[in-house]
Symmetry: C2
Subunit: 337 residues, 2 copies
């Protein structure tokens, strides 16, 4: 009726051929005469023929599509990872369906449903801060659809993961602050549901330990990454009887927010209080003073993740690997410390 797309049968009918022959031409099969080949090609072009991938996917039981689920979309971090992943995926002939969970567990579950329904051949996931139950992801394992985690990974599933060395990054960041003669270094930490929080916290603790600086639990504040709450915690820290002279933040948005607040209070950065972030977001080089931060190879993370995923897809379930790829971080020292 009205919205009829040209199909292989339309072409076949107009040329008095069978759909088999037309299909052969369009898929580049050799055993077809030059004359009919040309005729089919011409008509296909003329009718704007486009292969219907839905039917191809249905037939092959392979959609050539991978899903990507990320927790948020605001900072420059995940868009960059996605770009990296899409680059590799496209090169290998895969489409991508992208969903963001808005940091909500429920949304994440809904997203995985969508991915299943759309028959993705594999899934790239970075978890929500709320996610503590992984049943919705284990379904993929059971169904033989490979998963690869990146950045926010799941500890209790044996699948490939791509992370940066959060421990070492945090360790170096704090060490750097210590070398800048900071004695009371606070840590605005992430929720302990996230492995990255735990690892960065561990790096923080170990750096202090190494330099024999007493760990003051009062200076460690885990929070749920809701940016608006940073103000409360920074104010709290500054009002302590023995306030910190440095803040190591779990990520750049947190660090940037903290920096703004500290500046507004009239404190001087880094003299009165130094600030260090994590991730090297686009904005961190622009603010004043520029933010010292631990940079991650963001695009590379996406590329590696996609690469690992496609490797799994092309492998038999019985040969699935569980590599954990740890990428290097780099401390970028700027004015804020």
């Amino acid at each position: 009726m009205k919205r009829h797309q040209t199909t292989i049968v339309d072409i076949a009918r107009k040329l008095n051929l069978s759909k088999s022959t037309v299909s052969r031409v369009l898929t580049g099969h050799p055993s077809v005469s030059e004359k009919t080949r040309r005729a089919v090609m011409e008509l296909a072009e003329q009718l704007d023929y486009q292969r219907n991938m839905l039917s191809v996917s249905l037939l092959n039981k392979k959609s050539n599509t991978i899903g990507i689920i990320v927790p948020e979309f605001m900072s420059s971090y995940f868009p960059q990872v996605i770009m990296g992943a899409q680059e590799v995926a496209a090169e290998m002939g895969y489409n991508t369906i992208i969903c963001h969970s808005n940091e909500h567990y429920e949304t994440e579950v809904a997203n995985t449903r969508l991915m299943l329904a759309n028959q993705v051949d594999g899934l790239l996931v970075s978890l929500t801060k709320e996610t503590r139950n992984f049943d919705h992801l284990k379904i993929f394992e059971r169904k033989g659809i490979p998963i690869v985690f990146f950045n926010r990974v799941c500890d209790e599933m044996d699948v490939p993961k791509v992370v940066v060395d959060d421990y070492e990054g945090a360790f170096r960041a704090v060490e750097h602050l210590i070398k800048r003669k900071k004695k009371r270094i606070a840590h605005l930490a992430g929720p302990d549901s996230l492995l990255i929080s735990v690892k960065r916290l561990r790096g923080y603790r170990d750096a202090l330990k190494k330099y024999n600086i007493p760990i003051d639990e009062e200076l460690i504040i885990p929070y749920d990454l809701t940016i608006a709450k940073v103000k409360i915690y920074v104010n709290h820290l500054l009002r302590l009887s023995n306030p910190p002279d440095a803040i190591f933040a779990i990520n750049d948005p947190t660090a940037i927010e903290a920096l703004q607040i500290v500046k507004k209070k009239g404190l001087e950065v880094p003299k009165d209080i130094a600030i260090v972030g994590f991730s090297n977001d686009l904005a961190s080089g622009l603010i004043d003073p520029a933010l010292t931060t631990v940079s991650q190879p963001v695009k590379e993370m996406g590329q590696t993740a996609a690469q690992l995923l496609i490797d799994q897809i092309n492998r038999d379930v019985s040969e699935w690997k569980t590599i954990i790829r740890v990428l290097k971080t780099e401390l970028i020292v700027r004015k804020s410390s």
Copy 2:
């Protein structure tokens, strides 16, 4: 074989039912006995049954998927638009396939092919700066697949468009600079292939005209939005015998880059040279001095575009509208002017 997903037939066989009955249960059709309904539901749950949307889409000739093509993914602008669009789309039961063209015409064409092959029900597009030929998009019109443009729109196609009032935004921005006693206002303009460039330039010109400030063509520099080139142009402007005392930039990334360069030269912003951007990117409030800019309702743009698109999808081709929705901008005055 190995990667077999549970189908409706599997369930039917195990329960000695026909696939019709199972389908009825799963789609919530009323005429089925409570007993079998429960049995089917239970088994479906137990086997992690997931409806195969590929086959449903194929049968209905409707994929419930819309495509989104954006030119880039780096600034916070497009991710935010996408979030807005996805929000509305998800609510109306549509999935999204996102592609970015990397500002390359060729990639944009490839992306449209992908969208066609995947049978999207509609397409949301923001053009590449290179795109001057629209054949790849006109195919959609011919095939009865609605398109909606946003931000970077196409003048020669009669389809719905969502834009902001670029003319007025630019006009107000320049007027603001004039009221700040700036006499020689430069404009780092975009390529004239983009309508937004043309309209913003027109706003710039008209504002100057209104206040009887002579237009110096030397101060108008159209460029291709390659951020690295900003340095060349700013240096050029500053070396003029009669250099500008203000710069109105086509967008925020450009303005931010210009600001950094000007600051590095030791000039004072806004005293020596004021700077105004366009779009209110995330970073613009963070830099020092904070950037005066024209803010756009970014998320709303995505929402509106998705809304218009889905309206078109649900309409007969003969009743397609060609509304142009113009959203309001707002001048946000900060320290840089």
